[in-house]
Structure formats: C-alpha cells, structure tokens
C-alpha cells in the first residue's frame, strides 16, 4: 500500500515535470542590439539534435552615398568551441542548423567598420520529441509529437514574419530617406542655380564696368 502510494506520487510529479518541459521548449527571443565591434548573445539549447533557426537584419542607418550596405559578419559557436555556422558581409539573412550537442551556444555579430550598426535578430530553438523520447517516457503519446511538429511549423511562420517585418522596416527607412532627399536636394539645387546665374551676371557687369567705357572714349 505504502509503496503504491509512493509510486503514484512519483508518477504525478514526473507527469508534471514532463508537461513543464513540453511547455518549456518554446524558446523565442527577438531583440535588437547595437553592434560597435563585436556583440555576442548566448542561448541555451536543451537537447542535442534540436533545430536552431533564426534570422537577423541590419537596421539601416543613413549611408550617404554608398549604394549597398557594407554588412556585418555572423558566427555561431557551439559549446565545444567549433564554429557551427558563419555568414560574412551580409545585411540580413536567415539561418538554420541542427544542434550537434546541448549546451550554451554563442551567436556573435562582428562589425568590421567603424560606424556602429543596429542589428535586429530572432533566435528560436525548437524541440520535437523523437522515437527515443517516446520509448523512454510512457506519458508521451505520439500525438504529442504531432503537436510539437505543428508548433514548430507555426513558429517557423512566425519567424518568417519577424524577418519580413525587420526587412520592411529597413525598406521603409530607405524610402523615407529618399523622400527627404528628393525634397531637400531639389530645393537646394534651385537655390544654387539662381545664385550661380545671378553671380555670373554681377561678375560680367563688373568686368564691363566704368573702366571699359572710359577706354572706349
């Protein structure tokens, strides 16, 4: 009797823990940081074989007349120390990889240029219970696997939306800048033109001043 009660208590706790872990694996983080030279963020991956996906976009600052953004470098380092993923000189990209081991992963942004950049990034760690997890724990139904797969698909849609939103923000920034430049530079051009032509006239008048008239006599 005593042992059965103890077993039931343990089962309850185990179920609660499993449910807690199932609810826990939705790791989402979407933030912007300013990168002066090197900025690293760390994210913990709970299970080996989890899919780590994400994206980052460099928020545009006013480039004066470069045609394209110089871009930043992005590196992902595993807890063992080897580089898992690396992108160079991009102004925004998506990434996805399967975590080779569990532990603390380091996501680094390196800015090779002197102007500080602002990077908006999103990292998601997704876990789907595998056959091994199903066999290990009798409280996990196959339906939990399906639900986890559904949740991961929805998360990928959300990730895509966040990426598009960040890209749209950058595009909007460029648009606003173009609009301001058109107005400012056109009005400036008209004023400069008027000024240049009147200065020309004044100069020619001075050239053919009184001295010439006197010489002609």
């Amino acid at each position: 009797m005593e042992s059965r009660r103890r077993l039931r208590g343990a089962r309850v706790v185990y179920t609660l823990l499993v449910l807690l872990f199932l609810g826990m694996v939705n790791l989402v983080s979407a933030l912007s940081v300013t990168v002066n030279d090197l900025e690293c963020v760390y994210e913990y991956v709970l299970y080996e074989g989890d899919t780590v996906s994400g994206n980052f976009v460099v928020v545009d600052h006013d480039i004066f007349w470069g045609s394209d953004h110089p871009g930043i470098d992005f590196t992902v380092t595993s807890p063992a120390g080897n580089v898992v993923n690396s992108l160079k000189g991009t102004s925004g990209d998506k990434f996805e990889f399967k975590a080779p081991s569990s532990g603390m992963y380091k996501f680094c942004f390196h800015n090779p240029h002197s102007t500080p950049e602002s990077v908006s990034f999103y990292i998601h760690v997704g876990h789907i219970p595998t056959e091994h997890d199903l066999a290990k724990d009798e409280h996990l139904d196959p339906i939990n696997v399906k639900i986890a797969e559904l949740r991961e698909s929805l998360e990928s849609v959300t990730a895509e939306q966040k990426y598009l939103k960040a890209r749209e923000a950058r595009h909007r920034h460029t648009n606003e800048s173009t609009r301001k430049r058109v107005i400012f530079y056109t009005v400036g051009e008209y004023i400069m033109l008027a000024l240049a032509s009147s200065l020309q006239v004044v100069y020619i008048r001075r050239l053919f001043g009184k001295t010439v008239a006197y010489n002609r006599v």
């Binding site: 103890r6 208590g9 343990a10 706790v13 609660l16 823990l17 449910l19 807690l20 826990m24 939705n26 790791l27 989402v28 983080s29 979407a30 933030l31 912007s32 940081v33 300013t34 690293c40 963020v41 760390y42 994210e43 913990y44 709970l46 603390m104 908006s120 990292i123 339906i143 639900i147 559904l150 949740r151 929805l154 849609v157 959300t158 939306q161 598009l164 939103k165 749209e168 923000a169 595009h171 909007r172 648009n175 606003e176 173009t178 609009r179 058109v182 056109t186 051009e189 008209y190 033109l193 008027a194 032509s197 020309q200 006239v201 020619i204 008048r205 053919f208 010439v212 008239a213 002609r216």
Partner: protein, 214 residues
C-alpha cells in the same frame, strides 16, 4: 514527505527554468548595454531578467551583481526604472509605435574585474499570454490546452499579417509620391535652368546696349 520533496523539486525547476530559457548578454564594465525591439500599438510585453558574475550559470552564486535597469518608450517615457537590483521582472502594454529599449548598467562601485552576464527573457504578444489564467477560468488541460495555444499562435500570425499589409500600403503610397515628385522636380529643374540662362542673356544684352558696347 515524498510529495513535499516533489514539490520542492518542482519549485526548483520552476525557478531555474526561466534562467535556462533566457537569452544571455554580456555587460561591459562601464557604460550601458541596451536591447530594444520595435513594437506597434497595444502589444503586451513581459520580461524577466537575472544577472550573475562570470560566463556560466552553473555555479552557485552567493554574490549577485547589482545593476541599474531602465526601460523607455519611443517617446522617452520611463516605463520601469530600478537601481541596485540583480533580478526582476517588468511588464507593460505598448501605447505608442516605435522602439522600446531596456538598458542595463553595472554599478561601478562593486568589485569590477569579473564579467557580468544578464539573462533576459523578453516575450511579446502571444508568448506573453498568461495560460495559467486561461486554464483556471475555462478549466481545460492537457491536449486541449496545447491546441488552444496553437490556435492563439495562428491568430497572432493572422493579426501580424494584416498589420504588415497595412504598413506595406503606406509605404507604397510614399514610394509612388516620391516617384511622381522626382519626375516633376526634374522637369521643373530643366525649366528653371532654361529660364535662368534666357533671362541672363536678355539682361546682359540690354545692359550692353545701354552701355553702348553693342
């Protein structure tokens, strides 16, 4: 007694779990490190943060660093401001569209020399929803709760898409206006150039005639 032990384990897991779940950022010894996110109106934001010395959270920490945390809205309003704390939580609902920034500063008078790491768990929108409240109110559990969460995510995706469509429409209008303006202003500038040169020539001809040089 087993239940008490179990409850203790559960409590530890619940307390430790957010620590594991967060995004960690290194803090510089001097100066402020800020993280921000661009949000639109009426979004619920829920954030947990905790700080510790060193790079790993495994070690039992007896001394925690003291930070100063400040959260500002895009128009400069102060949403949360606390000095000399190591961990905490803040939440707010956005009222303005723009970039919301949370800044962390290490207090300089404590023992500098060790790196300070802050774990930030920043949740917006549907991730910030309190599911315990829904469970209590509607008395659902297990699979039904999971499916309800999925339904919430789908609704959030749809709302996001509608919002992005309206933003795209605004941007398209600005683009088309700029396009019209470029054409108009270029032709006008050509017209002004011709007018300026013609008026120059006419004026100089009149001037030279007056001066009896022509």
């Amino acid at each position: 007694m087993k239940l008490v032990e179990a409850a203790a384990v559960l409590l530890v897991v619940v307390v430790v779990a957010p620590a594991v779940r967060a995004l960690w950022v290194d803090l510089p010894r001097t100066g402020t490190k800020c993280v921000s996110e661009e949000l639109h109106n009426k979004v619920v934001v829920l954030a947990d943060f905790h700080s510790f010395f060193g790079q790993n959270d495994d070690v039992n920490h007896t001394v925690l660093p003291s930070l100063s945390v400040k959260v500002t809205s895009p128009y400069g309003n102060n949403l949360y401001h606390q000095e000399k704390i190591s961990y905490g939580q803040f939440s707010f609902t956005t009222t303005e569209t723009g970039s919301y920034m949370a800044c962390f500063t290490v207090d300089s008078e404590q023992n500098g020399g060790k790196t300070v790491t802050v774990g930030i768990d920043w949740k917006t929108g549907i991730s910030a929803k309190d599911w315990d409240l829904v469970v209590k109110k509607e008395k659902i559990e297990g699979l039904e709760l999971e499916l309800k969460k999925l339904e919430g995510i789908v609704q959030a995706i749809r709302d996001n898409m509608n919002y992005m469509m309206s933003r795209e429409m605004d941007m398209r209008e600005v683009s088309e206006t700029t396009n019209g303006r470029v054409a108009r202003f270029s032709i006008m500038s050509l017209g002004i150039c011709i007018a300026a040169s013609v008026s120059q020539s006419l004026y100089l001809r009149r001037y030279f005639r007056k001066k009896k040089l022509i």
